[in-house]
């Protein structure tokens, strides 16, 4: 596949990720525990990481967090999305690159979800400047692992389908 095609498909994926972010904000996951989310939009960069490589995945994530972050919420919530999203995809790319411990898509998705949450949580700690809430990271991480497994499964099948598709070019 040539570069133009890759960039075009990445743009479509960026749009899809933004749409998923916005769509997900209508599902009241916060009723389970505040801050809990499925993170459907993270399927997109994770899939791209496997199909096109880290440069495309990180760029699409940057577009996604910037646009989706500005569409809903204020500057504080934008910072959460930004640090969470960028930390998550960068660390996933690095872990995928090393060959000592090999994770499957699901493992990488769990790592991504946990890092996403942790980065957002530390942003919250910095903004609130209060350590009373530190215990809450346990709740967030447990739900992040569950969400990571689910989005990892979705990514796994998306990657399979896309690899079949890209062979036709």
């Amino acid at each position: 596949m040539n570069r133009t095609k890759k960039i075009t498909i990445s743009a479509i994926f960026a749009a899809l990720a933004i749409a998923l972010s916005v769509a997900e904000s209508f599902i009241p996951f916060s009723a389970i525990a505040p801050g809990v989310k499925l993170g459907l939009a993270n399927v997109v960069p994770l899939t791209l990481l496997y199909v096109f490589g880290p440069a495309y995945a990180i760029s699409v994530q940057a577009v996604r967090v910037s646009v989706a972050g500005l569409l809903r919420g204020n500057i504080v919530t934008f910072l959460f999305s930004f640090f969470g999203g960028m930390a998550s995809i960068t660390i996933c790319s690095l872990i995928k690159r090393q060959k000592r411990v090999e994770f499957s898509v699901i493992g990488l998705s769990v790592i991504g979800a946990v890092i996403h949450n942790a980065a957002q949580f530390f942003t919250a700690l910095v903004i609130l400047k209060n350590l009373n809430i530190f215990w809450y990271i346990a709740v967030l991480t447990i739900f992040a692992v569950i969400a990571g497994v689910l989005t990892g499964l979705i990514s796994k099948y998306t990657i399979k389908a896309l690899e079949r598709y890209s062979n036709r070019f």
Binding site: S25, S30, A31, P34, G35, R72, G73, N74, V76, T77, F80, V101, E102, F103, S104, I106, G107, V110, I111, V114, A124, I127, L128, K129, N130, L131, N132, I133, W135, Y136, I137, A138, V139, T141, I142, V145, V149
Partner: protein
């Protein structure tokens, strides 16, 4: 799924369940001083048994949150943010071990115990 995946998932769940368990089952003294923090400054500090309604305003004077203190419980009765997470966080009572946070407006409501003279946790 690979072996590394399973080890990772099991370790994460176990470690954080233990951490959560330690927090929830740790005996602590009753805390009945309600503290409201806005933009990292403490704006209210009174007994939770004193009924009150605290309005939190942004720098333009618009009300962003209202904390209602009634019959020894405290809860967020109004928030102007989009997701309303803080309203879902329920009520604080002297024995609860949680806090109410409204991140978009940088508001945090929590309890401290009567005998701690200095608020050692807020920095």
């Amino acid at each position: 799924m690979k072996k590394a995946d399973i080890i990772l998932i099991v370790t994460l769940i176990c470690v954080f369940l233990i951490f959560l368990g330690l927090h929830l089952f740790n005996d602590s003294k009753k805390s009945d001083i309600l503290v409201i923090q806005h933009d990292s400054k403490v704006i209210y500090r009174e007994s939770i048994h004193k009924d009150n309604e605290i309005q939190i305003k942004d720098r333009y004077g618009n009300i962003t949150n209202i904390v209602t203190i009634k019959d020894g419980t405290a809860y967020m009765s109004f928030a102007d943010c989009a997701n309303k997470d803080c309203k879902h966080m329920g009520k604080l009572t002297p024995s609860s071990k949680k806090q109410i946070a409204c991140l978009p407006n940088k508001v945090l409501v929590y309890l401290i115990s009567t005998d701690s003279e200095v608020d050692g946790v807020t920095r």
